[in-house]
Amino acid sequence: MYIIVLGILFLFMIVTPLILKNLKITGFVTIFGAVLVLGIVFKIITLVSGGNPLSYFNEFFYIDSLSVVQLLITASINIIVSIYSYKYIGNEIKEKIISNRRGKFYYFLFNFFVLFMMFIALTNNIVAMWIGLEGTTLTTAFLIGFNINKNSLESAWKYIIICSIGIGIGLIGILIFVNAYSNQDGSDVLKWSHLVKNSNPQSTYAIKIAFTLIFVGIGTKAGLAPMHTWLPDAHSEAPSPVSAMMSGVLLNLALYVILRFYIITKHIPGLQNTKWLFIIFGCVSLIISSFSILRQLNYKRMLAFSSVENMGIIALGLGVGSRIAVFGALLHSLVHAFGKSMLFLTAGNILSAYKTKRIDKINSLIKTMPINAVFLILGMLVITGAPPFPAFFSEYYIIVGTVETGNYIITALYSFCLLLVFAGFLRVFIKIVFNTEPGVKYAKMEVDKENTLPLALCFVSIIIMSLFMNGYLSNMINNAVSIICD
């Protein structure tokens, strides 16, 4: 029932930009649709909150507490980004950077992109999850190359080549994975909910190879470290709302697909070592990204590397595997989605005012764009895990998890990388916000007030999250944790 309503809503949102000429109405329809989607997601959350999963259409769609977390992230970031896009696209058209036709194309692709992401979170079929991921590659390729110029085309081509190889390797892994269960009934073997209950494959060796291929392949899409090379280019060249959406939601969902396979393999005796894949790739991501953050000259690139770092944190938390660490990882994926979207959207505002991505060209933001400067500092505090914000607790829980399981080297490495990231962020943002060059007079810019509502929404959501941490939120995440850990 809810699935059908969601489907009709998305169909409506996708068709609107194709038939309507007026972009303003299209923007409103997108925002309105996003609000309705969030409403449905809240309804689903209340239905699932007891801990009983829902399933529709012969278990093709299956919603448990783990998918609810992803649904919540997707739907709420979708609202924020569609509100931002409304003014962003309007502005671009007013400045004659893009034509009206490309504006329509933007909304068409954007809604398709969100549809595929919701589909990944909702579906129960393991191959359909892959289809959803591939669908996000299809739609975001043009969104990354949206401002057709040399840099964006280069990054889009890189993205397509690297991600399609990665996703292809993931599919090979999934096919081997399915084949290892050829002793079971053909119609059930693709269902995650079936596999997780009956995990006695024909050969555990095949599962081991398959899971490694899946991890490496889909890990490319999740931006884990040695495979992350497309990510800084793509996230820095894409339009800011798209970067926010990709960094906050898409990376999470790719990791979620890996996690679904991990939950199946965890139940197979003799395959406990697969958790080290998460831990090692997480640590490598942390190290590479924290050192890269220190030497960036482009602020959007720096934010992109910070996404790699946060994916590393989440992967590490999932790999450590004690209850508290997994709780921290899931909480961190929520906080990171909001915090990183806020930072990317603020960066988008700064970019449209200054027309440059270079850090050394921007000074004294507190005088020229005070509202955005405040949001920039707040976003930085959220994403680096400063105490009053929930990111502090999530990162702390993961530290506790590593100590609890006795991985002291990882504890040290992790804390060191977090410190490095904090230092790198502070250096850049203090310079951007407070540095004054002698002899230059800084006047307040008029554009400062534009498009600040989505930033405020992000921040309010983070505050709400910290207030309700002990109530609904922790209940929801705890249910998800028991799916992973038990």
Binding site: N151, L153, S155, I165
Partner: protein, 203 residues
């Protein structure tokens, strides 16, 4: 019959891995895709499943007719004929291809499933073309070879419903189409489709 077709697939992929002329690579690709389409149709004839027929017809229509047409048209339009400097030259590519095929058939020598082995060989050759060539259009053909490997792999392992299988094939084709459109944009912006010019984005 099927053995002969698999041989055609392997020979055409060895051929494609070393030649420089894009027209010749496209011709090799046509042969390969036709062979794969025929294999899938033959399987459909043997097992009587509708899935195989649809998959085979889809493969033949898109990969033997539509995509080569598009490639040839754009080759004419973009006035490119051959790869000038290769990252890995033709001779070494042949050797790597040979080693790849040896690895694929050697690793799985216990398995009776020739589809699986050929599929893995195609993955290796496709990725080789994607990383060792500079022209964007050759990289796209490399991806299509990879995609062919996936089709073979799927037919050997699959127990999926038709919708899912069609979804996989369809998305591969969409990706090829998107690559084609992007090549067109790249050619217009850079006045070339050499990926050598992709050096703006560095630290």
């Amino acid at each position: 019959m099927i053995e002969a077709l698999l041989t055609i697939i392997l020979i055409s992929s060895i051929f494609m891995s070393g030649v420089r002329r894009i027209k010749l690579i496209t011709a090799g690709f046509i042969f390969q895709s036709a062979a794969i389409g025929l294999i899938v149709l033959k399987l459909g004839y043997e097992t009587g499943k509708v899935d195989y027929y649809i998959l085979g017809i889809l493969t033949i229509v898109t990969k033997v007719i539509i995509i080569p047409l598009i490639i040839n048209k754009s080759v004419k339009k973009l006035k490119i004929n051959r790869e000038m400097e290769l990252i890995v030259n033709g001779f070494v590519s042949y050797i790597i291809t040979g080693i790849g095929i040896m690895i694929a058939f050697g690793l799985l020598n216990k398995s009776q499933d020739n589809f699986l082995k050929t599929g893995i060989a195609l993955f290796i050759i496709g990725v080789l073309l994607m990383v060792a060539r500079k022209k964007a259009i050759t990289q796209m053909i490399g991806f299509l070879i990879f995609e062919n490997g996936i089709v073979l792999f799927e037919t050997s392992l699959s127990k999926m419903s038709l919708v899912i299988e069609a979804g996989i094939v369809f998305e591969g084709l969409m990706l090829a189409l998107i690559m084609g459109i992007m090549i067109f944009h790249i050619n217009r912006t850079f006045d070339s489709i050499n990926t050598d010019f992709f050096e703006n984005l560095k630290e």
